[in-house]
C-alpha cells in the first residue's frame, strides 16, 4: 500500500486547488475526498520518490508563501495566493515553473476527474454518440 502523498499536506493542497480551480471552493467534504482519492490513486502507481517529491514540493510552496507574504498557503487570502502562484508560474527557474505545472495538473485531475465536474461544465460525451443526442 502506497503512503499517501497528500495526507501530510492536505490543507495546503486544498488551498492550492481552490486557487487553481475557484469552483473547488464549493466542494463539500465528500467532494474533496473524491478529488483527493483520484489524485492519490494516480500517485499510488508512481514510484515512492515521485510521491515524496509531490509532498515536498507542496511544503516548499507553503514555505515560500510564508517567506514572501508572512502567511502559509491556507491562510493567505485568495487574491494574493493567486498572484503568488502566478509569479512562480512565470519564474525564470524551470524547476519552479515545472513544480507549479505539476501541482496544478494534480489539482485539475482531482477536480475535473470527477463525473460531477464533467457534467457541471457541460461535457456530455457517451458511447451512444449521435443517437444519444437525437
Amino acid at each position: 500500500m502506497a503512503v499517501p502523498a497528500l495526507l501530510p499536506v492536505r490543507a495546503q493542497f486544498r488551498a492550492l486547488a481552490r486557487t487553481f480551480v475557484p469552483e473547488a471552493t464549493g466542494l463539500d467534504e465528500r467532494g474533496w475526498a473524491e478529488a483527493e482519492a483520484i489524485v492519490e490513486r494516480f500517485l499510488a502507481t508512481r514510484p515512492a520518490s515521485v510521491r515524496r517529491q509531490v509532498t515536498l514540493l507542496i511544503r516548499l510552496l507553503d514555505l515560500l508563501a510564508l517567506a514572501r507574504h508572512g502567511r502559509r498557503l491556507p491562510s493567505l487570502d485568495a487574491a494574493r495566493r493567486l498572484r503568488f502562484l502566478e509569479s512562480l508560474q512565470n519564474a525564470p527557474i524551470l524547476l519552479l515553473r515545472r513544480g507549479i505545472w505539476g501541482v496544478r495538473t494534480l489539482a485539475f485531475m482531482g477536480y475535473y476527474g470527477r463525473p460531477e465536474a464533467a457534467a457541471l461544465i457541460g461535457y456530455r460525451a457517451e458511447a451512444g454518440g449521435w443517437e444519444a443526442r437525437r
Binding site: F42, F108, G122, G129
Partner: protein
Amino acid sequence: MIERAYDIVIVGSGAGGGTVAQELAPLVRDGIKILVLEQGPRFADDEFTGREQEMADALYEDGGGFLTADGTITLAFGRAYGGSTVVYTGTTLVAPERVIRAWNVPGLAHADIARRSARYAEQNNVHLLAPELINDNNRLFVEGGQQAGFVVEQFPLNLKGCRGSSLCNLGCPNAAKMGTHRVQLPRAQSQGVEIVTRAEVLRVLDRALSVVVRRRQAQEKGAESEWEPGEYRVRARVVVLSAGAMGSPTLLLRSGFGPRLPALGEAFTCHPAHILVAEHERPITNDVGHPKSYYIDRAAEEGYVLETCMYFPFTTAKNLTGFGPAHSALMRAFPRLQMILVIACDKAVTGNRIAVGRNGKPVVFYKLTHQTIEALVRATRASAKIFFAAGALRVHAPSADPPLIERRDAGRVDQLIDARHFLPGKISVSAAHLMGGCGMGRDAAGSVTDARGRVHGIPWLKVADASLFPDSLEINPYLTIMAMADRVAEGIRGDARELLGAPAGAA
C-alpha cells in the same frame, strides 16, 4: 524459471507487432511456432467505459502522464492488446514522398511504402466519413480554414460502425476502430499464433527473452494473462521487437546492446503538440461525432500540421495554460469550445534520445529546438486565424501573454503570439507520435537496423515499429508503421530457411 521455446517471438502487439503477427501467421501451417508477448492486458468490449481517469489509467503508460526527463513534455503511449492502435483516432495517411526521400535509407523506396500502405488501408476499412457524421467542431475548422486561405483536407479513417462517441482516445466503446486488436491480431490468432498479455520482456538474451508475466491486480481492468504469472525464459530463433519507440530502444539498451550499437536510443522525435481552444457564442457539437476528421498539412512549407481534435475535461484543463478564474471560465464554456491540435514536425537532433534509468525504465531526454518552437508558434498563429474566421469570440493561445486573445485583437495575432512567450515548463506540450531510437540506415555506426528492420550484425534480431524511423514522419504514423512491419515480415519469410531451419516443435 519456466522455459518455453518458439521459432519466432514478437514483442508488442500494436501497429508493428500486430502486422508482423498477421503476415507471419501462415508459417504456422509449416510447423513454425509464433508467439506475441504484450505487456498490457486484453480488455473486454464492455470495459471501454469512456470515463477519462479510469480509461487513461488502464490504457496508457503512467496513465498518460509520462514526462520527459526535464518534465516539460508529456508523452502518451498505449499499453494494451493492440498497443497504441487501441487509443489512436484512426487517422490514416500515407507517408509523404519527400520525407521518405529525405530519410535517405538505402533500400527504402517511397513507392514500396505507398503500395503496402494502400493494402493496409483497405484491410482496415479506411474511408472518408459521410458529411452528416461531421460535427460542428470539424465543420468550423473547414470553414475557418478555407476562409483563412488554407487547404483543408479530410482524414481517411479506419472505422466500421462508428457511432460518434468522440471517445477514440479512451478506447472506442463501440468496437468501431479497426486497430490491430480488431483486425490483425484476431486473424493471426485464428491461424495459430499464440498471444500472451501482461507479459513484460525484461531482457533480450542470446536468441532468448527474459519475461515476467504479471498477475491482474484487484479491481484492475483487463483479463488475466494467458500464462500463469511468473518468470519465464523464452527461447526464439527470431525475435521481432515491436514495443514502440519507447519500448524497443529501452529493451535493447537494458539488455546491454548499447556498446555495439552506438546509435541505439538516438534520433528520438515525437511531433510536439499543443491543444488550442476557442470559445464561440453558441454551443456547438464537439463532444459527439468523430473528433479528428480534418487537417491542414503545412509540414513542407512551415513545419507544422493542424488537426481537429476534442479532448476530455481533465486533458483539456491540463493543456490550457495557467489556472484560476480565466482558466475556469474557459472550462465552463466547454459546450462552446472549438479545438485544434497543432503538431510541430520536429527534426532528429543530437541529444534528443532515449536512455534507461536506474530502475530500468525509459528516460527521454528531449529539448525543444528553436525551430520546433517557431513551428509551434506559426501553427498557433494559423490556428488563431482559423478560429476567428470561424466566428470565435476568443482564442486561447499558449504562446501569447496573456494567453486569451479577444476577437477585437484578431488582426494582431501575429504580434500577440510570439516565441518570447513560449516558456517551457509553464506551457503544456504533449506528444503521441513517438519515433526513432532504432533508426534505419546503412551501418551500425549511424543506425541500428537496415531498411528491413534487421539489427546490424545480429541476424536473428529485428525491429518493426516507429523506432525504425530515422527522423520524424511529419504525419500520423500508424499506417507507415504497418507498411514497415510488412517489409520486416517479408524479410523474415524470405530468410526463413536460413533463420529458422527446422521448426522449434520438430527438435
